[in-house]
Structures are given as C-alpha cells and as structure tokens.
Symmetry: C2
Subunit: 255 residues, 2 copies
Amino acid sequence: MPINNGDFILVDYVLKVKDTGEVFDVTIENEAKAANAYSPDQSYEPRLVAVGQGWMLKGIDEALVGAEEGQEKEIDLAPEKAFGERDGTKVRIVPARELTKQGITPKPGARIEVGGQLATIRSVGSGRVTIDFNHPLAGKQLSAKIYVRKVVTEPAERIRELIHRRIRGIPKERFIISMVGNLVTIEMPEEAFTAEDIQFAKKGLAKEISKYFPDVATVQFVESHVLKQPAKPAPQPEAPAKETPAEGTEAKAPQ
Amino acid sequence: MPINNGDFILVDYVLKVKDTGEVFDVTIENEAKAANAYSPDQSYEPRLVAVGQGWMLKGIDEALVGAEEGQEKEIDLAPEKAFGERDGTKVRIVPARELTKQGITPKPGARIEVGGQLATIRSVGSGRVTIDFNHPLAGKQLSAKIYVRKVVTEPAERIRELIHRRIRGIPKERFIISMVGNLVTIEMPEEAFTAEDIQFAKKGLAKEISKYFPDVATVQFVESHVLKQPAKPAPQPEAPAKETPAEGTEAKAPQ
C-alpha cells in the first residue's frame, strides 16, 4: 500500500547540504560516524513521522506520499521545500556595544541569541556588527536519503511510537497500552515515574493522541507502585471494581 | 473510644517554650496571629498524626493515647519528652577562619550549617567561635495545648489524609480513592498532574500506604486527561477491560 498523508511511518534519513556534502541531520549511527556528524547525546534509530503534518521538511513530507514500506529514496530539496529562501531584510547591522552589553563577544560565524531569536554573526567592523537572522540553511539546496523502515498501522502501536517520541531512553515495550471505546490507558513502567519532565510529556502526549485519534476522549496514565507481594489472596470484590490487566496484555477496541 | 497507638487522628496544637511563653509551632491561625507567630506560608488546619509513630514529640504522642475525639489537653513536656537534654559535648570551639572560609560571618545567635548539620553561634572571641550543635529547644521545658479534632477510621479517609499531608494546596476531596483487595487506586485531580515534585510525593505516598495498610500490595495512581466529549457512545468492549469508576464513587474492600 502506498503511503498517504496522515500515515504513521518510521523513517531513517541522511540530510546533506548539496554543495558541500555536509551532513547536518542523520538518524543512522554508522552514517553519522562516517560523516563526522556523530553525537553521543543523540539516539540513532528510525524516527516517527506522521506524514503531511509538518514534522519533516516540506520536500521530505511530499516525497513520502506514494512511497512504500521498505523503499529507499534519494531526493534533492530546493530551498522552498526545505529551510526557505534567504531573506535580505533579515540581515541587520547593529552597534557592537549592543551585543557586548548582553555579554556577547562578536566573532564572525558565531551563533548568538538576540531578543529571543537565533542569529549568525556575519562580519565585525569598527563598532558595527552584521547579524543574520536567516536560518543557517536558508537558501541552500539540500539532498536527502530516506529509508521507509515501517508503516505503523495498529492503533496501539501508533500510540507506542508517539510515547517513544516524547519519552526517550525507556524501552517503548515497557508501556502497556489499552484502548477501549473512547478511553486510552497507558500503564507507565516504573522507570518512567520520575523521569525528567515526565508530567509535561504526559500532558503533551494526551493532546497528541487526542489529535491523531479523533474518537479518543480520555487518555489515562496509570502508575502502579508494587510494594510487596500480596500477603494473602485478594478477596473477590462484589462491587464494580477497577481491574488491572495482566502484564503485557492489551485489550484493543474494534476499529 | 479512647485513642490507641496506630490510630489516625487530626489534631490542632499550640506549642510553647514554658519559661518565655514563646509559641514555636501552632496549627490554629488565630492563635498564631495572637502570638505573633503567624506565617503566610503555613496552612493552618489540623494535622494528621499516626499516634505512636514518632510524627509528634514523644510527650505529645504519649498524651494522645487514651484521649478521646473532641478532647482538649494541656500538658507540660520535660526535655526528654521533647527535644532532648542539652549535650555539652555538642558545643565546640572552632577557629573563626574555618567559618569565614565557608562564607559565614560569625555573629552570636546566628543559625548556620556546618558539615551538613545545623548549629547556633553562641559567642565570638578573638579568632575563635563557640558553636552549639544542640537543637535550639534542647533542654527546654515546653507546654502544649492539644485539641483532638477527629479520629479517622475509614480506610479510604485515612488514605485521603495521608495524601493531604503530602500534597497540600489541592483540596483533598478531589482525589478519588478506591480500595479493592490488595490494590489501592488513587485518581488524581487535574491540578495535581504538574504540581511541584508530584512524582516524588506519589512515590513516598505509595510507601506510606503500604506501611500503614499491611494488606495493600499495590498503589496505583491514575491521571485521566479528558480531552474532549466523546464523539459517539463508546462501544461495549467484549474483552476484559479497565473501567473507570463513576466520579465520586468509592469501592471499599471489606476490612
């Protein structure tokens, strides 16, 4: 089945500046190392893309439509399908003291933050500095190699990938996902309980799930603190009661 | 029923240094204001005490045993039932530069931290400083007024008070507590999702519940992000599924 807008897919890619061959974004460890672009802080694995949602550069989003699982694609991206054309009005000359006042020592090529915006210092004259608010890759022709690794179709697996995108560093298999009617329940693994910014990750995740699953009204996160082995068999409750699913099982709603 | 060790009770109190009448701990707003001991950061309301667990000064813990709901008690506490006797070996003379090196300007009466321990500067001589590691109230005779406001007997209400003790600032009624067999489920209100240090509060709470309810093996926290009204009625699941209890209901285990 060719890929459509809205599909969830896992892709690897290598993105280069066409002229120089410089690799500026890459998801494959070997390729990163070969191009001297490896960073130990990055996790090298395929990325989740919701096709056509602007998660990727426009040209890549477009190239994915119609591709098939397992396919490799090499494409060139014109600036308007990548980081945009250069905009001359975004280049400004400012007095050097305006920067030194902020603790910035103007040096050509340096990336700085001015008024909340990132900029590049182009040149330093006598008391005057030229700064450029264009994206460093604006106006550049790019070349991209894309590998469509997997099309993710199962709703629970789509949710698992959305989780993984926001909560890295914890194996995605450890989240137990169930979908029943308009309720999604995500049982969190213990190592996620106190992960950094986890409460904000959950909040964002709930919104995202709600966006991509229009039928879902409630996203429920469950954290089970198992403190001891039960001292005696649990009494059978008579009243309607919550039940925990057996570990690893997933009840899925009919779609 | 007279109060026993292990009971959960709500108490108000006013604690004074007997000699000076200085109020150093108080749970009642009016009394705090009258004694010039009011702090806008404190919440004035009865405190939860698990009797005999060392949550309160020894003398108060002991005075609570045998008291009744609604009772008021005025007692004197000898140092050994309060902050202990003064220990002469905890007073040390150190070179002044040892403190100045740490950025402390020695001043008589100042509370300082030395090697992770709190201490009071007693006197400053020529190049030498006398510091006292005794608790400031060690050796003091205290007087306490205690009001037993409530004996909390219902298990779910005991848990509610344990929650309130750790998660202040959010009305305790908003937590939905259910107890079924060896599982306690606490449905968190939305305003608690991103409360400060909430993940650590939950962790501590789970341990505490496990301690005071020996039959409880698992404490489960549930956060429901309700994102939209259901677009259509939820299908009836055929598979065993989690169910959310209707808001406000509490299924309680037979004790």
